[in-house]
Amino acid sequence: MLVDLKNVSKVYGETQETQTHALKTVNLTINKGDFMAIIGPSGSGKTTLLNCLAGLITPTTGEILFKDKRIDQLSLEERTEHRLTNMGFVFQDYQLLPVLTAKENVELPLQLKGMDQKTINELSLKALDEVGILHLKDRFPKEMSGGQQQRVSIARSVVSRPSLVLADEPTANLDSKTAQEVIDLFLSLNEKHQITFIFSTHDQRLMDHVKKIVKMQDGVIL
């Protein structure tokens, strides 16, 4: 078991009138190597669930265990450190740093970890090679297509071999062909390195390939 959510609830707002129950007593277990999609209409609570998993927010009640360690009780800085050590992120709009080249963007988590430059070079070039854009390593994001940028983003998310990668609508901005290529890439990384992928998505193409689907509505897992 990689992540375990026990009776997690999240309430936004302070007064009775303004309170919104984004998550209602959610229980979810994520195992190592899972390839899972969280789906649901807008406002169903999937983003809140993803944010809880990432440690970006803490639940109002309940527990979140990551490798049997509670992360909901960690401080803000400890949760940042936890994300750096254990997680990778893929965003809908890639979120690459525009002033860094593809290789430097991939290097980012390793640099933040304070690894030595030789190892960083080896790992980042390997990650770029795995996602098939080694030849674009010196290009800046604005010099690449959306699909290429998303590949850089994926390389960045897996370069430090995290246990868990959270991807928020990773194919939403891509054309069909590129989206399929990206999905294939996720699948190959999942199979090759046993990295756990959790997607928040509306994309049927992606849903067709995941091994597990978690449906959400009104803050509850159906």
């Binding site: 944010n51 990432a54 970006l56 927010i57 803000l76 800085e77 940042t80 450190e81 994300r83 750096l84 050590t85 997680m87 992120f89 965003f91 979120q95 740093l97 525009p98 002033v99 860094l100 430097e104 290097e107 980012l108 988590p109 640099q111 933040l112 970890k113 304070g114 690894m115 430059q117 960045r156």
Partner: protein, 399 residues
């Protein structure tokens, strides 16, 4: 900190994101640095020159007298004087003076004035008073046994001119009446200042004789270099710095210095508000990127450092540029002095009743660079606190 190179690379490249905005902040900071340094240079040089000129003229940078001799007391204690065995007396760094309040009579009028006995040769090597002699000489003619140099105003009041004789009536140190006939050998002019009416000069030897003071006695030692008295026992004598001797001048100059400082401070403060606003806009535009950095695992320290490096590198470049520009401009105005009469409608510039040289040579002073750069750096550092704090706070908010 590990991997500082990567942090520097990221921070410095951010400067190129919006070249126009970076250029505006850079130019603003460089120009304000130049102006602040130049303004301090002009002020310090002008004031420094004025102080040297005013003190070097007559008062000196300091005066040393007997512990109980007080120039500002209603009764000048003439019998409290120093002797030749005082360690500084023979030093070429000082000139001795003897003072005596007297009455002086011309053809039809008698007025009170202060007679100052000076050693003409030593006086000439330390002060520039001799330059004020409008007629005659400054006690250079040894053949005249009772010479006297009067101010233009006093000479007019007494209706006397060069080579006329005047009667001087005073009091000896033993309490006896002293009187003698003096010959006017010189008339000085201070541009109509009050001193012209109050001070007159004679040979120190003559005045000692006049008031029955021993040959090695004197009331004051006047000097320009304060290091001269550093080693003497300051408990035994009364040391009066120029600020106490001419407090009105000292206060005026201090006021000018402080006013300049405050005005520069206000200018830098206003500029820093502008810089703060520009930084705020700049950081705010990158809010989403900074948020992503936080999600990926960059902690607050890393993000803060990156923003600080970005701002400080720009600041460092700007103050270096400003400093070089200020040096060039100050050097130009050193060789092409500023004429203060431009600000007085062509009239002479007077301070403390004395005419001063209106041409100000601007010196490039290290002090001006240090104070200006420190001031701007502190304000810029303060100005980035709010933009950084806000962007950090918002980066932790999850949408």
């Amino acid at each position: 900190m590990k991997n500082l190179g990567f942090l520097l690379k990221y921070s410095l490249r951010n400067l190129k994101r919006n070249p126009k905005r970076t250029a505006i902040i850079f130019i603003t900071l460089a120009i304000s640095t130049t102006f602040a340094i130049w303004s301090f240079n002009v002020n310090e040089s002008g004031i420094g020159e004025s102080v040297n000129e005013i003190t070097g003229h007559y008062v000196g940078k300091y005066q040393i007298g007997h512990k109980e001799f007080d120039l500002f007391s209603s009764e000048i204690k003439m019998h409290r004087y120093l002797r030749g065995d005082f360690e500084l007396a023979q030093s070429p760094l000082v000139t001795p003076r003897v003072l005596s309040p007297v009455f002086i009579s011309g053809e039809k009028k008698t007025v009170g004035a202060l007679m100052v006995g000076v050693d003409p040769a030593r006086e000439r090597s330390l002060t520039t008073f001799y330059k004020s002699i409008a007629e005659g000489n400054y006690l250079l003619d040894d053949s005249v046994s009772n010479p006297i140099v009067l101010g233009g105003k006093l000479a007019n009041r007494l209706n006397v001119k060069l080579n006329d004789e005047v009667v001087v009536l005073g009091q000896g140190l033993d309490g006896s009446v002293a009187n003698d006939l003096f010959k006017v050998v010189g008339i000085y002019s201070l541009g109509g200042g009050d001193l012209e009416d109050r001070l007159m000069f004679t040979n120190i030897k003559k005045l000692r004789e006049f008031i029955t003071m021993p040959e090695d006695g004197y009331h004051l030692l006047v000097g320009m270099n304060p290091t001269a008295y550093e080693k003497i026992d300051q408990n035994k004598v009364n040391i009066m710095p120029w600020e106490k001797l001419i407090p009105d001048v000292s206060i005026s100059l201090l006021f000018m210095m402080k006013l300049n400082f405050v005005l520069t401070l206000i200018m830098v403060f206003v500029i820093s508000l502008g810089v703060s606003n520009t930084l705020f806009v700049s950081f705010n535009e990158r809010q989403k990127e900074i948020q992503s950095l936080n999600v990926i695992g960059a902690n607050s320290t890393w993000i803060t450092l990156s923003l600080m490096i970005e701002t400080f590198s720009m600041l460092i470049l700007a103050v270096i540029t400003g400093s070089i520009l200020a040096t060039v401009i100050s050097n130009y105005f050193f060789y092409h002095p500023i004429d203060l009469r431009l600000f007085t409608g062509g009239k002479e510039v007077m301070i403390g009743g004395m005419k001063i040289n209106a041409m100000v040579k601007v010196n490039n002073l290290l002090y001006s660079h240090i104070i200006s750069i420190s001031m701007i750096s502190v304000f810029v550092a303060l100005s980035m606190i709010y933009p950084i704090a806000r962007v950090l706070k918002r980066s932790k908010r999850v949408s």
